[in-house]
């Protein structure tokens, strides 16, 4: 792929498009459309937006991603976490239901689209790498808990405000008495049905002889069944008149493309949320895309994915939609249903457009509790306590970052949650590398290997201190290196040589170079020679550009064995060291039969 094709992948796959691929893509599109209709309405409700906005966000964005995205099977559209983040960001600017609220959501999509596109053009995708897995995992778990609890108000038929868990829970507790029993029956019934469908239906269907794939796809269509049944109930028993909140009149017709009028102040307020939404949406989407692509040995190009998602969000904003990204569940359904190319997404867009035009009157009587139930069941599968446990067992630093992310997200909200998680993981990483593992090593008898004297039975020489450092040397650990060597040397009164073993040193920055010079200088003042061993090629290339190797009192040895052999011989010769102490003769090698 070169030139324009690199930025417009449709030119690549479009050339090989034939009837067989078309058939596969069409089937996948029909299935994904059926799945997307209730999801789009539900996520719009989660974002605090009118239901049709969810449908709008599932039309043009899919076409835009199909033109620019590199994944063949990723399905973009509204997703749960991004909807929550939208609600949280926009809720600080205007009240739900106002025109300003909708405008802010649209601006958020446009800003996020521009940021993603710019990040793609300037190849800044690596910024997303600073979101560690534990932070993302903690953030998604906490978001899922927030989302599920925020949807409980629709299940109970009460009204509750708040962006944090304490606010939502105290609101729910305070208004639980006012719950509408019919709404609650519908909501809890739908949750039960969807939960059973998710956990049991596939097995039941294969039990009655259905093949695994159609059983799986039918299972994923359970929400549409819940929608159909509750619409029928609401209509038949006129539940709207009995206090059950229904979706109501959804404007028919397609969105009119256009730009909202915005103030610079609004843009400034939304910039940070838009950035976080962009990065989190990108990370989730790319990980889904990578997983699906590798199943068919295809490749996705992260920087081009940024452009694809950027185009999708710009398209969403231009057509009155809100921020979108690639969703896990729908992409898997798309893939399993046999989608071959991004054309499947474009056909899905046509399906949603048709639904927006002709199906919306049927959804007028849909209880909001049904939508809330689909959201709750969908997001609870994102809560991953096992991951928390696993990370706890694996790494304390990662666990700390994760717990901080979960707690801050639940207690202060989504943006502080992500930011504090990222800052804490960076701080812990820097702390770890600032105190690198260092080991005094000795020779394993009968071999050329050198190992930690605290872990192995090894041979050492009181005149030679061999220290291995297990980290690249840079400013944050260079003074630690100085201190450690100063301390080790102060503890060895008969020392004549220090050898720093560097097999794991991938880089030496200017600070570390100065520290090495300083160590060399100080050891020289103390009459001790400083040597290096096992320096990597690229590091050595760098050192050769400086005068450090000329200043070095000792030598650079290719291997630690070579170093110790050479220095031992020099000491045995007896008079080559100007600073040799009178008692040196009494301290030769530790006796060992395995040495020559």
């Amino acid at each position: 792929m070169t030139g324009i094709a690199r930025h417009l992948p449709i030119l690549e796959w479009g050339r090989h498009y034939d009837r067989a691929v078309l058939a596969s893509d069409l089937v996948a599109a029909v299935i994904v459309t059926i799945m997307l209709i209730p999801q789009s309405l539900a996520y719009a409700m989660l974002a605090g937006l009118p239901p049709q906005i969810g449908l709008y966000a599932s039309i043009l964005p899919l076409v835009a991603y199909g033109l620019f995205g590199t994944s063949r099977t990723l399905a973009v559209g509204p997703v749960a976490v991004v909807s929550l983040m939208t609600a949280s960001a926009v809720g600080q600017i205007a009240a739900q239901g106002t025109a300003d609220y909708l405008t802010a959501a649209i601006v958020l999509a446009l800003l996020s689209g521009l940021m993603l596109t710019l990040m793609g053009v300037f190849r800044l995708g690596f910024l997303a790498n600073f979101l560690s897995h534990p932070v993302i995992s903690g953030f998604i778990t906490a978001s899922a808990l927030l989302i599920a609890s925020s949807q409980l108000k629709h299940i109970l038929g009460v009204s509750v405000q708040g962006d944090t868990l304490p606010e939502i829970l105290s609101g729910l507790v305070g208004s639980a008495g006012k719950a509408n029993p019919i709404t609650a029956a519908i909501g809890l019934g739908a949750i039960l049905f969807l939960y059973v469908a998710r956990t049991r239906m596939k097995r039941a269907l294969t039990g009655i002889g259905l093949a695994a794939r159609p059983a799986d796809i039918l299972t994923k269509a359970a929400p549409i069944l819940a929608v159909a049944v509750t619409v029928f109930l609401a209509n038949a028993f006129d539940l709207g008149a009995r206090g059950v909140k229904l979706v109501g009149d959804i404007p028919r017709g397609l969105p009119v493309p256009g730009l909202p009028t915005v103030s610079l102040e609004l843009i400034a307020t939304l910039a940070m949320p838009a950035f976080l939404i962009s990065v989190i949406g990108f990370v989730e989407s790319v990980s889904v895309a990578q997983t699906l692509a590798s199943k068919r040995r295809q490749r996705i190009v992260p920087d081009q994915e940024l452009i694809g998602l950027g185009a999708a969000n710009i398209a969403s904003g231009l057509s009155s939609g809100y921020p979108v990204t690639g969703g896990l569940a729908r992409s898997v359904v798309n893939f399993d249903a046999g989608a071959q190319t991004p054309a499947a997404g474009m056909f899905t867009a046509v399906g949603i457009a048709l639904a927006t035009l002709f199906l919306t009157p049927l959804l007028m009587d849909l209880p909001q509790a049904t939508l809330a139930a689909t959201v709750i069941v969908a997001v609870l599968s994102l809560v991953d306590f096992k991951a928390i446990r696993r990370i706890h067992d694996y790494s304390r630093a990662d666990f700390a970052a994760m717990v901080a992310t979960v707690l801050v997200t639940l207690l202060w909200g989504v943006e502080p949650g992500v930011v504090s998680g990222v800052l804490l993981s960076l701080a812990l990483f820097l702390y770890r590398t600032s105190k690198p593992h260092m080991a005094v090593v000795g020779q394993v008898p009968g071999t050329e290997h050198f190992r930690n004297i605290d872990r192995h039975d090894v041979i050492t020489d009181p005149a030679i201190l061999s220290v291995r450092v297990d980290e690249s040397l840079y400013f944050a650990n260079s003074r630690y290196l100085e201190d450690r060597i100063a301390k080790l040397v102060a503890d060895c009164p008969n020392l004549k040589h220090v050898v720093l073993m560097c097999p794991a040193v991938n880089a030496i920055d200017a600070s570390a170079l100065e520290s090495l010079e300083e160590i060399n200088h100080r050891l020289k003042d103390a009459g001790i020679t400083f040597h290096l061993s096992e320096i990597k090629g690229p590091v050595m290339d760098r050192l050769r550009k400086t005068d450090f190797l000329d200043q070095l009192t000792g030598r650079v040895f290719l291997s630690q064995f070579e170093a110790v052999s050479a220095l031992r011989n020099r000491n045995d010769a007896g008079h080559t060291q100007p600073t040799q102490r009178t008692d040196a003769g009494k301290m030769p090698l530790d006796p060992s039969p395995s040495l020559p």
Copy 2:
């Protein structure tokens, strides 16, 4: 050293104190006292404080450091860079010459002392490590330029305000016409004399037969000679009446210990400057102390140094002084003059106290231009253009951080300068580690070594991809690893094995572990087996605590040679791979006579 002695080093050296040590310490104290008198006055002027404050800051702090510090020869007191930082911090709160200005400087010393002490108690000395050498070096060079230009007003006898180079220079240009010619003559004369003394006097003195050490010490006393001569001139010709600004009446008597009344607001405003002053003062001081200690094979303990400097600053604040730290020039003089223990510092304190009591009337007629000249000549030796050049040649990232520090310090001031330097070095470090060096490797014919295929003539096998990664794996580079491997695999259609060679991987965090799982999973989907080789002991210990090794489709090999030998044999057997492709038989090893 254990228990209380660890925190009160005087208990250690005090026990061995005898008459010979006393004599050495006394001689050193006399010499350092003579050197400190003009310096203390000059640095107080630089900080915008009355001259006696410099003397006060050279009495009790020396005693406090003597009790708690671990360096035997470090001389603490007012220093140039900290004086500049004090002027910059306090100047934002009050105008020079007001009581509020003095109070703020005293509070700054107390805050800095408390912070240093707390950092010492909680062993937070590593925080200073995040100031890289290039940032410090750039900061000191920029500070020296700022200091020198700020002192030019005293040399010219004009009045100029400003904390940044553009402000100072435009002020000087604007008021150059109002310069006082006699002041300028004294100032420029003193600069010339001090400069010649610094560069030539030692050689001249040894030329006429003086030994090197006394010649050196006499050279360092040149400022006191400049002071004596200009005081005489000012007095003899009544220069004060001719517009030459003199130091004037310095209050006799010792400072009265006490605490200033402060508001929380003042503390909040000064907290950040106090932190930066603490960290920069600590870094400079420790590096001087380390250098001197290693000349005598002594040790300094960085965390206890924090407590020593903290005590010195608290003592300074309690006795109407301003922030102090260990100075390079005076410590070297102290060391060269033969100081053996911190008692030398305490005797110096007595010397300065006596000077404060009895010598101040003699200094009434001292021209401020003389003090400015001593400051200018002292700080210009801190300007290190050679270091800038050296860092430019060695590392682009370090150079960028240094240039940013220099420019921001000169153009925006000292605090933004340090902060931006630190943030930029961290960002560049994270960026570098987020894109680690990775190499596809092949076997060097006839050896067990594996080297980069782009650099060496090596043997590869189209069914086996050997990739070496030269960095610890953590969240910032784990997705890069996924992407790189996905890309490499997509380019090798006949691949059956991927071996990741990890000799330089010092740690694998939870994110990287998940990425390895993901790589394993994706390769499995593509029918490729994933292996690891040369994993370090501690990393392997960690992996064993997870189920990753059970999931791994391939094996963990001790060496890359072992890995490739085993996999090659497996491929030759022909039917062990379930996903073997039909054309695999046509692609055996690259022909090479050196392989069995």
